[in-house]
C-alpha cells in the first residue's frame, strides 16, 4: 500500500468542495466485471480489496480511493491467426478470394467468438486527495495511466478541474544546477542515479545507476551541454526517490527512519495496518510536497480573479 510512484495534480478550493460527496459519487461508478462482449471496463473499487464495500478510506485531511480497470486479454496475433484459418477454409471450400468487406465481417465474428473466452486482467491504481492543500496524488509514473484515472474521476464528479503539475521554475534547469554545484536545498541530498540528456531533438542520453554523482565523469557530460532529466534524491534521510523533469516521482521509498516509526502495528488486522501506513505516508508526503511547491513553484489554482 506504500505508494511507489507519484504523479501530481492540483485543484482549487471550490473544486475541493465537490469532494465532500466523493463516496456516493464513486459508488455510481463502481467497477463492473467485463461483460462477455466488452473489451474493458473502468471504475472504482474499495482500497481494502475488490470484495469490500467502502470505496474510500479517510483520515483527518486525506481520502484515498482506488481507480481500477478490467481489460480483456486478446492479443492481435491470436485474432489474426484464427482469421487466416477461416479465410483459408473458405478459399479451399469455395475456391474464391475473400473481399475486404467480408474479411472485416469475418474479423468481427472472430472477435465475438473469442472475447467471451478471453482472460480478464484487473489493474488497480491508488489515489489520494488532500482537499485542504489541493493535492491529487496518484500512485503511478505513467502519464497515460494517470490521465485515465483522472478522467474516470472527472466523470464520477461531473466536473473536476485538476491541473497537472506545471512548475514555475524549470525542474530540468534547477536539477542541472543542483548537480553542477552540488548545492541542494536544505534537507535534500543527491542519490545514486541520474539520467542526462542533450535537450536537442535527437539528444544523446546517459543513464547512471549506483554511481557517485559528484565525480568528474558526470561533470564532463554536463560540460558538453547535457541536462538532468532524472535525478535520484534523498529527502531528510527519510524518503528516497527519482525525480523526473516532468515532476513525476519514481522509485519512491520510505527509508528505515519512517518504517521504524510505523513500529509493530496490529499485523492481524489488514485494516489497521492500512490505516497506519496511510496516515504515516500522507504525513511524510505532505512535507515533501510542500517542499516541491517551494523549490519548483507550483501554484494552487485560485478561485479569485
Amino acid at each position: 500500500m506504500w505508494f511507489r510512484n507519484l504523479t501530481l495534480f492540483r485543484f482549487s478550493e471550490s473544486s475541493a468542495k465537490s469532494l465532500k460527496s466523493l463516496e456516493d459519487k464513486l459508488a455510481e461508478q463502481r467497477l463492473r466485471a467485463c461483460g462477455p462482449q466488452e473489451l474493458a471496463t473502468q471504475g472504482f473499487i474499495s482500497p481494502y480489496g475488490r470484495t469490500e464495500e467502502s470505496l474510500t478510506h479517510s483520515i483527518a485531511n486525506y481520502m484515498m480511493f482506488t481507480a481500477a480497470r478490467e481489460d480483456k486479454l486478446l492479443p492481435g496475433s491470436v485474432v489474426n491467426e484464427e482469421l487466416s484459418a477461416r479465410l483459408k477454409k473458405i478459399a479451399e471450400k469455395e475456391g474464391r478470394k475473400v473481399g475486404s468487406k467480408e474479411r472485416k465481417r469475418l474479423k468481427e465474428e472472430v472477435l465475438t467468438d473469442l472475447l467471451p473466452r478471453a482472460f480478464t486482467r484487473l489493474s488497480k491504481l491508488n489515489v489520494y486527495v488532500a482537499p485542504k492543500t489541493g493535492w491529487l496524488v496518484l500512485d503511478t509514473a505513467s502519464r497515460k495511466g494517470a490521465e485515465e484515472a483522472v478522467t474516470t474521476l472527472r466523470e464520477a464528479l461531473g466536473s473536476f478541474p485538476a491541473v497537472p503539475m506545471a512548475a514555475e521554475e524549470s525542474p530540468r534547469n534547477l536539477m542541472t544546477e543542483w548537480l553542477i554545484h552540488g548545492k541542494l536545498p536544505a534537507g535534500l541530498a543527491l542519490g545514486d542515479e541520474c539520467e542526462l540528456r542533450d535537450p536537442a531533438e535527437t539528444g544523446a542520453t546517459v543513464r547512471c545507476r549506483r554511481q557517485d554523482l559528484e565525480t568528474d565523469e558526470v561533470r564532463e557530460h554536463l560540460k558538453s551541454g547535457k541536462q538532468v532529466f532524472q535525478l535520484g534524491l534523498v529527502y531528510d534521510d527519510r524518503i528516497s526517490f527519482t525525480l523526473g523533469e516532468d515532476l513525476a516521482v519514481r522509485k519512491l521509498r520510505f527509508l528505515d527512519q519512517v518504517q521504524d516509526e510505523l513500529g509493530e502495528t496490529d499485523r492481524d488486522s489488514r485494516l489497521a495496518e492500512l490505516d497506519a501506513i496511510f496516515a504515516l505516508m500522507t504525513l511524510e508526503l505532505e512535507r515533501l510536497l510542500a517542499k516541491f511547491e517551494e523549490w519548483f513553484g507550483l501554484p494552487r489554482p485560485n478561485d479569485k480573479r
Partner: protein, 252 residues
C-alpha cells in the same frame, strides 16, 4: 526570372529586387498554390506542371507576394545566423534583448539585468553551437512554462475545465492547439512574443476545452476571459511570422 539552386525560383520585382520562391512539386496538389510562411515564400504545383506555367503564375501574383512579404516584415534580410562568441539582438518577451557570450566551466544561460548571457566552456568547438541552441531552447521553454503555470492556476477554476498537460515545442504555422486527449501544445516562439500574446493563446486553447470550435459562442467565451483578444490575434497575424523565423534562427 531564372531557376536558381535547383529548388528556388527568382522573381524580379518592379523596383529591381529579387524574391526567392521555393518551388515544390506536390503529388496530391490539384492547382498552383503560393504561400508565405516564416520560412519565406513557397509555390507548390501538381507534378508534371510545365515550368512556364509556374513562372506565369508567379508573375501574375508578384504584387500580392511583395505586399504580403512586406506586411509580415519578412522582406528585410534577417540578422546573421547564431554564432558562439558573436553578440546579437534577439526578441524576448516582446522586448529586444542583447544576447552576449561568456566563458564558463559549464554551459549556462542567465538573464543578467537587460542582457541574456550564454556561458560556454572554452575552446569553442563544433558542439558549442548545438549546446548554445539547446540551452536557448530550454531557457525559452522554461520562460513559457513559468507563465503558463500561473495562467493555468488562474483560468482553470473560472472555466471549470483543465487540460491533461501542456507541451511546448516549435510549431510550423500554428500558435497552439488542443488535442482530443486534452493536451495543450504551445509554440516555443511565444517566448519571444509579448506576455499578452501568450496569455491570449493560452486562454484560446483553454476555452476549447469547453467549446471545440470557433463559433461566435467560443469567441464570446474567449472575450470574457481575455477582453483584448482581437488586438492580440491581429498582432500575432502581422508580427508573428517574423518571430517564428527568429526562433528557427535561434534554436533550429
Amino acid at each position: 526570372m531564372t531557376v536558381a539552386e535547383n529548388n528556388y525560383l527568382e522573381l524580379a520585382t518592379q523596383d529591381g529586387d529579387t524574391i526567392k520562391v521555393l518551388r515544390r512539386a506536390h503529388p496530391r496538389a490539384r492547382r498552383l498554390r503560393l504561400t508565405v510562411t516564416s520560412g519565406g515564400a513557397q509555390v507548390s504545383y501538381p507534378e508534371g506542371t510545365h515550368p512556364a506555367q509556374v513562372f506565369a503564375f508567379l508573375r501574375k501574383h508578384a504584387n500580392w507576394l511583395e505586399r504580403k512579404l512586406d506586411e509580415l516584415k519578412l522582406d528585410q534580410p534577417g540578422p546573421p545566423p547564431l554564432k558562439p562568441g558573436v553578440p546579437t539582438l534577439i526578441p524576448l518577451r516582446g522586448e529586444t534583448t542583447r544576447l552576449q557570450w561568456r566563458d564558463g566551466p559549464y554551459p549556462r544561460v542567465e538573464l543578467d539585468g537587460e542582457r541574456l548571457v550564454l556561458s560556454l566552456p572554452k575552446p569553442h568547438n563544433k558542439h558549442s553551437l548545438s549546446a548554445a541552441r539547446s540551452l536557448l531552447h530550454s531557457y525559452l521553454q522554461a520562460q513559457i512554462r513559468r507563465d503558463v503555470s500561473r495562467y493555468l492556476a488562474r483560468y482553470t477554476p473560472e472555466l471549470g475545465r483543465a487540460p491533461n498537460g501542456v507541451r511546448v515545442k516549435p510549431l510550423k504555422s500554428l500558435w497552439g492547439s488542443l488535442d482530443t486527449r486534452d493536451w495543450v501544445t504551445l509554440d516555443l516562439a511565444l517566448a519571444l512574443a509579448p506576455l499578452d500574446a501568450l496569455r491570449y493563446v493560452v486562454v484560446h486553447e483553454l476555452c476549447h476545452l469547453r467549446i471545440r470550435d470557433h463559433s461566435p459562442r467560443f469567441w464570446a467565451l474567449v472575450g470574457s476571459l481575455c477582453p483584448d483578444w482581437q488586438e492580440q490575434r491581429d498582432w500575432l497575424k502581422t508580427s508573428g511570422h517574423a518571430l517564428k523565423a527568429e526562433l528557427s534562427r535561434l534554436v533550429a
